[in-house]
Symmetry: C2
Subunit: 199 residues, 2 copies
């Protein structure tokens, strides 16, 4: 019997983390997000800042630049090492029981070991810009520029490590626009989908 | 006050048409699919077979080949004419009241005139192969080959006329995997999403 896990990939500023927390709360199962960073820090010796910065986004939006950046003579970069440790942490968490995991390509990491309801949360640029200014207290100057940069780097990271196209509906069982459906709407839809989910 | 329309794009064999019919039935609004073909035939003089064949798929999966195929000296192909008439029929239908429209890039056609809940239905190859053999009585030999060919041609058509990437989650408000969530599951999720939909 494999555990039923909800994995949430999300565009920056789409509210995917909040949605994950609320879904987990309603199902009374744990939600892992920042906790993953803590655990990786324990296991790896990497600082939390390094993990936060490098654990789900590339240094640049350019695939080619990333493929050859900072690789030692053995061809393994610090980011590759982080990818491996992060994968081990995610596998361990999924072994413990049903849970929600936000970000970090978890649906790819767990593809052979857990039954994942694979979720993607996205939203239009205006809703996300408004959200990051309101929730994260980002500077109001050019939030769109920051979002576009984050999008590119997350996509590059995802595509480099999973060999799949970021944001392609086929990679997910349910993809939702939180700008149009609302945070509470997405939570409600995911609870329904989790109940319908036939792994 | 603009009408609330549900547009369903779908992979061949994913059950998108069935889902559309059931959603419309539950909401007691019309569902347009084959009816569009009838109306276009009336308006255009094109045969139903031609409309069926050319109304939402390219002759080939190759964008470049399609861009230059069968264009007269005025640069307009028969398929372009069909695109324009089809667009007019879809615009007229959306004016009449809330409805479900399956296929034919309706969400793109209606982008400025109706409030569309934009839906994409997809499923894994095995579920779709099983479905087309069971529902459409397709020959069992190589249904995957037929699906891949259809996928390519629908994607090429969509991308040629809308300039958007087929299957990209960002183009839709909700994208569902009918293989994993089930036909009834998708119907139920879309009814909920329609209620949550803030145009």
């Amino acid at each position: 019997m494999r555990n039923k896990v909800i994995t949430i990939s999300r565009e920056f500023g789409s509210g995917g983390r909040t949605i994950g927390r609320k879904v987990a709360e309603a199902l009374q199962i744990p939600c892992y997000d920042q906790e993953i960073i803590e655990k990786i820090a324990e296991k790896s010796g990497f600082t939390k800042e390094f993990i936060q910065e490098k654990g789900e986004q590339a240094a640049s939006g350019n695939w080619f630049a990333n493929a050859f950046a900072n690789r030692g003579t053995n061809g393994v970069s610090l980011q590759d090492r982080l990818w491996l440790i992060q994968g081990k942490v995610i596998l361990d968490l999924a072994q413990e029981g049903p849970c929600v995991i936000v970000g970090r390509c978890a649906h790819y990491v767990l593809r052979d070991t857990a039954d994942c309801l694979k979720v993607f949360i996205h939203a239009d640029m205006a809703s996300r810009a408004e959200r990051i200014v309101r929730v994260y207290g980002q500077r109001e100057e050019a939030p769109e520029k920051r979002l576009k940069d984050k999008d590119k780097r997350r996509a590059a990271y995802y595509e480099f490590y999973t060999d799949m196209k970021w944001g392609n509906a086929e990679n997910y069982h349910i993809a939702l626009d939180s700008g149009v459906l609302g945070i509470e709407g997405c939570v409600s839809l995911l609870l329904e989908a989790y109940g319908r989910f036939r792994a």
